[in-house]
């Protein structure tokens, strides 16, 4: 399974994170997205005419939508992440997978504008990002009233992975997460998972690491 990857792309990180959490090994092919704009070059456009990353290749299968890649990894390696046991859960997963596109467009757009100087109406992107965060916060609070800890079920699903990166990186685009306690608890639960991996801007929880232990004579 080959992933055309950019280390700073939250959409690529979704795939790397899902793979890490489910024990899948990916063959990573780095793409010079910035400053090289390699994703707009002939080789990658032939794979993905939309000119976006990630691009995922497994045999004859080429996927260019991160949600589809998450579903594929889950179906192959960890079907419980699909949460299809009840109609309601299956539908909630789809609801949040689609919703994640709004996070990409708003918070992701604000981040590209603020950080990598891509053109965009920063005020409008941030305002749309805040609306999406408020909706996500309300969704998590409602789930907790139902006794559910995560977006679609009482366990992690692909929906959580689809929504987490752009939310966690909202401050990169100048959008604060301070007003959203449910989001911050949810983010903390994700960052505390075994086999969780970081990306630049999403730091690990140092306090969850074992206490540092120094051998005698070690500097």
């Amino acid at each position: 399974m080959k992933l055309y990857d950019y280390i700073l792309s939250p959409s690529c990180y979704k795939v790397r994170l899902m793979a890490a959490l489910t024990g899948v090994t990916l063959d990573i092919r780095p793409v010079d997205f910035h400053p090289g704009a390699e994703h707009k070059g002939a080789e990658l456009l032939a794979l993905n005419p939309a000119g976006s990353i990630p691009i995922f290749v497994d045999g004859d299968l080429i996927l260019t939508e991160s949600s589809a890649i998450l579903v594929y990894l889950a179906a192959k390696a960890a079907p419980e992440w699909l949460a299809v046991a009840s109609a309601e859960e299956a539908a909630r997963v789809q609801q949040w997978l689609s919703f994640s596109g709004r996070l990409t467009a708003s918070l992701g757009g604000a981040r590209l504008t603020e950080m990598l100087l891509r053109p965009g109406d920063i005020g409008a992107l941030q305002a749309q990002g805040v609306l999406a965060l408020r909706e996500l916060e309300a969704g998590l609070v409602e789930q907790s009233l139902r006794g559910m800890r995560f977006l679609a079920a009482n366990r992690l699903t692909v929906a959580d992975i689809a929504c987490f990166p752009y939310v966690a990186l909202a401050p990169d685009g100048g959008v604060s997460l301070d007003p959203y306690p449910a989001i911050r608890l949810w983010s903390r639960a994700l960052r505390g998972l075994d086999h969780f991996i970081e990306m630049p801007g999403i730091h690990r929880l140092h306090e969850l690491k074992p206490e540092p232990h120094i051998e005698a004579g070690e500097a």
Partner: protein
């Protein structure tokens, strides 16, 4: 805040490789400027009232100044050394003081906590003694004999090594780092941070590298450096106060911060205060 002393300094304003005739609208210390490629193929920078600003094209970047630079752009002899690979890492905008961006680059104590398992790792958090001086002959801040244990010091490093560093500040918003070169122990890898001050609390950062590494792909080299710098960015944007305090009282330095102390002292001595806070508030 006084602009005068810093106005005569050189600043990066764009990548030489991205120069085109459409031009790039950007800013320098609050003034809108434009960077274009003129009809002769040369870089041209104009200020807000159309005046033509001084230009240099060096170290992969276009350099300019709002004033009249009294000194030539600082030398990096390694930029002319055969066998090195030169890497344009690309711009990253950071909502912080340009001086804070440089100061963070000079700090090693944060490595185990911010660049965990790459440039540092617990429990190897101790910063051993190192030497810091302001070299009067060249008027630069230098830190030498800096040693730190690093799990993955460079893309070309396999496994943990104790890396040696030298830091150099030749201009108020530029720093040059010399560090152990894993494939060629007799040489130093050169990693720079060139900072373009847009405002006192906003900057565009242009990292650039001159490395001995014939095996790693260019994209991997870029991604390695972008990973490191983007880990710093989220910290830099949350530092308080936003401006760099040059007077004592606001922040208490420790022994590990000797380079920062020298840098702040050097800034204050030269009145390099754009992006600085002078009286503790």
């Amino acid at each position: 805040m006084t602009m005068q002393a810093m106005i005569d300094e050189w600043y990066p304003v764009g990548l030489a490789s991205e120069l085109d005739q459409t031009g790039r609208a950007t800013a320098l210390m609050g003034e809108p400027i434009e960077v274009v490629c003129d009809e002769n193929g040369d870089a041209k920078v104009t200020g807000s009232n159309g005046r033509v600003l001084p230009v240099r094209v060096r170290y992969g970047h276009v350099w300019s100044s709002l004033g009249a630079p009294k000194k030539e752009l600082f030398p990096i002899p390694e930029a002319d050394q055969p066998g090195r690979r030169f890497v344009d890492v690309g711009v990253v905008r950071v909502r912080c003081s340009p001086l804070r961006a440089i100061e963070n680059f000079l700090d090693i104590a944060h490595f185990p906590f911010v660049h965990t398992d790459i440039l540092g790792a617990e429990p190897h958090t101790e910063v051993q003694n190192y030497k810091v001086e302001i070299r009067e002959d060249v008027d630069e801040v230098w830190a030498t004999q800096v040693k730190f244990y690093q799990p993955q010091a460079a893309k070309s490093a396999s496994g943990g090594i104790t890396t040696e560093y030298m830091y150099r500040v030749p201009a108020p918003t530029c720093s040059v780092l010399y560090k152990t070169c894993p494939p060629r122990p007799s040489e130093w890898d050169v990693i720079t941070l060139f900072v373009q001050p847009l405002a006192e609390d906003l900057c565009d950062v242009w990292p650039w590298m001159a490395l001995f590494d014939d095996t790693t792909s260019l994209t991997d080299l870029i991604h390695f450096q972008q990973t490191i710098f983007l880990q710093d960015r989220s910290i830099l944007e949350n530092q308080i106060p936003r401006l760099l305090p040059l007077d004592p009282g606001m922040e208490i330095p420790t022994r590990a911060d000797l380079t920062s102390v020298a840098y702040r002292r050097w800034l204050k001595r030269h009145n390099y205060t754009y992006g600085a806070q002078l009286v503790a508030q």
